[in-house]
Symmetry: C2
Subunit: 496 residues, 2 copies
């Protein structure tokens, strides 16, 4: 596949200058037009060592407007990175809608290098490449345009350059320590890269392999590839094409009128003797206190999320859960309306943002499941968007789990009579009044839709690594004990 990038193409200085006269104003115009679009452009700059990735990035900086241009170089991992799932740092680097992000190094670097040095099996590489495909599809579905550049150099050119550079600019070159090492591994590197490129050369995110032997040809080609992508994007409508993967049961009305949901079979009878409640609670809280320190010692994090019907008792359960915890060990993320920085990103971005460092517990009061609950019911998300969210969320949770995070998910449910009773109580008790709004009453009318959405959600996202626990909430004491016991069990299982 690299043969096409070993044809010895070059551009004369004169042609280069002439081409730039046309290229630069068009790049700037397209970048300006991008600003009003709801889409972002992600330029991945990768390739052979010595092929001039850094020069390419510098040229893009020269040609584009620095406003609305975000560059991230992935090369130094820090503790903050290592203590979180691997994709955390990529999420942090995504450009907001309307802007261009240049990624120097990317999610491709580690899998390729690890495979070259045999720290990863071929099967593991393929698995990583699948993850990449899914990640890129997800970004693309969300409106991002991926421009993936692979700068190629033939083997003898690499060799030649390294020796020349070694002679000429020894002082500078010595700082890029892996360069010589890469030469030794050139063939293996080429083979692994080729596989990676082939397997991730998708419709949503195609690769452009660029001959990098001649710097002017390389830079001009990069500029033209980017220009083409930008101009196509700004000419296109903001409407995303409807994908063909819409769920069969996306017709909600049918579901509502038809079958019963998981939530129709809940047994609301108390499971806890009120007289023994305090003692049981205290016992569980003591266990959680120990387990939290244990988790901290083992540097294992826990993520607990709460969803549920309004007034189902999420707040009360969360308070009982955190009360034994050392305040340094946990954080409660209460999910409210997104900020404008959050709105300018994929919906999962604002949850990735709060993933804890190792050893901590994060409690989400409402979560990423808003996408398939409120956003579905209120039609903030299109059918397409919430339909594909199930798989996106499953993948997200798999990444959390893979990185060692213990994940516990609760759906707290009260029946409609109990909910009505609590709504009325909230209206009369002074310090509960802030918890009830007109919106809550409106949502109540939409209960069947919410129930369908919850049913689908539980069905599609309850997995072995991230099972849902449906908690009957009519009896608060039973609910709280069940929540705490579930967390204890999950942590015990994980911490051994």
């Amino acid at each position: 596949m690299f043969e096409a990038a070993e044809l010895g193409r070059s551009v004369s200085k004169e042609d280069y200058e002439k081409a730039l006269v046309d290229l630069r104003p068009r790049l700037l115009a397209a970048q300006r037009a991008l600003r009003t679009k709801k889409r972002s452009v992600i330029v991945v700059v990768s390739g052979v060592e010595g092929s001039g990735k850094s020069e390419v990035v510098n040229h893009l900086h020269e040609w584009l407007d620095a406003r609305g241009l975000h560059t991230h170089a992935f090369w130094r991992e820090s503790e903050e990175h290592r203590e979180r799932p691997r994709y955390w740092r990529f999420w942090q680097a995504l450009p907001p809608r309307g802007s261009i992000g240049i990624l120097f190094g990317s999610w491709y670097t580690a899998p390729i290098v690890d495979r070259v040095y045999k720290r990863m099996t071929k099967a593991e590489l393929d698995q990583e490449l699948q993850r990449i495909n899914f990640y890129e599809k997800m970004l693309s579905d969300d409106g991002a345009l991926l421009v993936k550049l692979w700068l190629h150099l033939p083997r003898d050119i690499v060799k030649d350059r390294l020796s020349q550079k070694n002679r000429r600019k020894k002082k500078n070159w010595m700082f890029a320590p892996q360069a010589k090492e890469f030469l030794k591994q050139y063939d293996r590197f080429a083979k692994v890269s080729e596989r990676a490129i082939r397997m991730t050369d998708t419709g949503e995110a195609p690769w452009r392999v660029i001959e990098a032997t001649d710097a002017r040809y390389r830079d001009l080609t990069v500029g033209q590839v980017l220009l083409e992508a930008l101009e196509d994007l700004v000419a296109a409508s903001d409407e995303r094409p409807t994908s063909s993967t819409v769920l069969a049961n996306a017709d909600e009305e049918g579901v509502i009128s038809g079958s019963k949901t998981i939530l129709d079979h809940i047994d609301y009878r108390p499971t806890v003797d009120p007289k023994k409640y305090e003692k049981e609670l205290e016992g569980l809280q003591n266990e959680i206190r120990s387990l939290a320190w244990h988790g901290w010692n083992e540097q294992r994090s826990t993520v607990v999320l709460f969803e549920g019907s309004d007034a189902a008792g999420k707040g009360g359960a969360i308070r009982r859960l955190i009360s034994p915890l050392d305040a340094r060990l946990y954080r409660v993320i209460s999910v409210a309306a997104p900020s404008d920085e959050e709105r300018a990103q994929h919906y999962l971005w604002r949850f990735w943002r709060h993933i804890p460092r190792a050893g901590a517990m994060t409690i989400y009061d409402r979560s990423w499941y808003g996408r398939v609950l409120v956003e579905r019911v209120e039609k903030f998300a299109t059918v397409d968007e919430w339909s594909r969210a199930y798989r996106e969320i499953n993948d997200f949770e798999e990444q959390l789990s893979d990185s060692g995070i213990v994940l516990v998910k609760f759906w707290l449910h009260v029946d409609e009579n109990e909910q009505l009773r609590r709504f009325k109580e909230r209206e009369t008790v002074a310090w509960k009044q802030h918890k009830i709004t007109d919106e809550d009453w409106r949502n109540r009318d939409k209960a069947p839709r919410y129930k369908t959405a919850a049913h689908d959600m539980i069905n599609r996202t309850s997995s072995a690594i991230a099972p849902w626990t449906v908690v009957p909430g009519n009896d608060k004491k039973s609910a709280r004990v069940q929540v705490l016991r579930t967390v204890v069990k999950a942590m015990e299982r994980a911490l051994g």
Copy 2:
């Protein structure tokens, strides 16, 4: 000073419950009212080991609404923290306007602990405390309300608890490793804390020393202190009182009509022979390339900022500066309108955010000086606000410098005729058209005001550690050479 917190005060369970019935709805109401205010509340929870800081934080979580509540525990430093000025992490943790931030541990922890263990002299401690006073005053000036809680326990109670706990809950206690150590150092710790508290007990940010022997008394007092602070705040108008430190020359008109500015004495004659320009530029760029790697090797960062009149050539100078750099080593921050997350914070927050990790170079295209330039001239900031910004900025830059960052500041200036010529050129050259807007023409009319603002700025913020370099911009080549040479010299001086 701690005697008043050793009186053995306590609250019965009955009184406690009764007080809560009043306290909780009022806390919630005040928190809700805070949301529409442009002010934030910062609760610093500190005190003796074993005094129940964690329990206090948990109670606040219980009493307050999790929405609009941000808690940060400062205890684990990461590379990301260590590679930046010490206050970086505190800036990151500040709550946005309209919300409450609970800081468990704070800027007080390190100075006190370092002094207790004699890693710091008394003079150094006092210096740190001065910095703290200034920091808190700055936050307070910006509308933050600081509630600083010091939980106190008498010596014999600490001793007693540690031994009891050791017996009773050995398993849990053993995880807080410094606890026993603290007992040994109790007297010294008390002495150092007392000094820290006394020296930072200011009008803007007073301390509340709270007797923590009885948990109910402690928690209730914390709740009441916070409630009082919140209710006072929401009752107050959003208008900040005018401080008395307004500069004598804040009357701009006087300055404009009166004296000449620094910018009236610029010698615009070329200093570079056009024939030798290319060679000189290349030589300087090679030096910068080496120095950047050298800085990376030594883990020393460089911050270069550009301010200047419109069309003075900032963009061109920045492009020449970055072109020799490896793209992994630098970032350009192009300062545009703040996002809503940025607007909800102190104006310096969005610049702190981008302070690089060790060894990198960050280039700001416009900077924090916007506060005393455009915000002053366009009256986005009050006289009070921009007047105090000089000292705030000097302090900020001192922190950058103290942490080893090389700081280079450029003011690029063109005279009015040359500016007019460039504006006209921008209107005719296709790929320069995006650089000229109606606003540029409007700003031109305000040139005298901008000149006065720049004059004051250079006067008040040019220090030995962060000097301004005024660059005559009429001859672009001379300007670029001067910019690069200045950066080279500053880096050489710093890197030895």
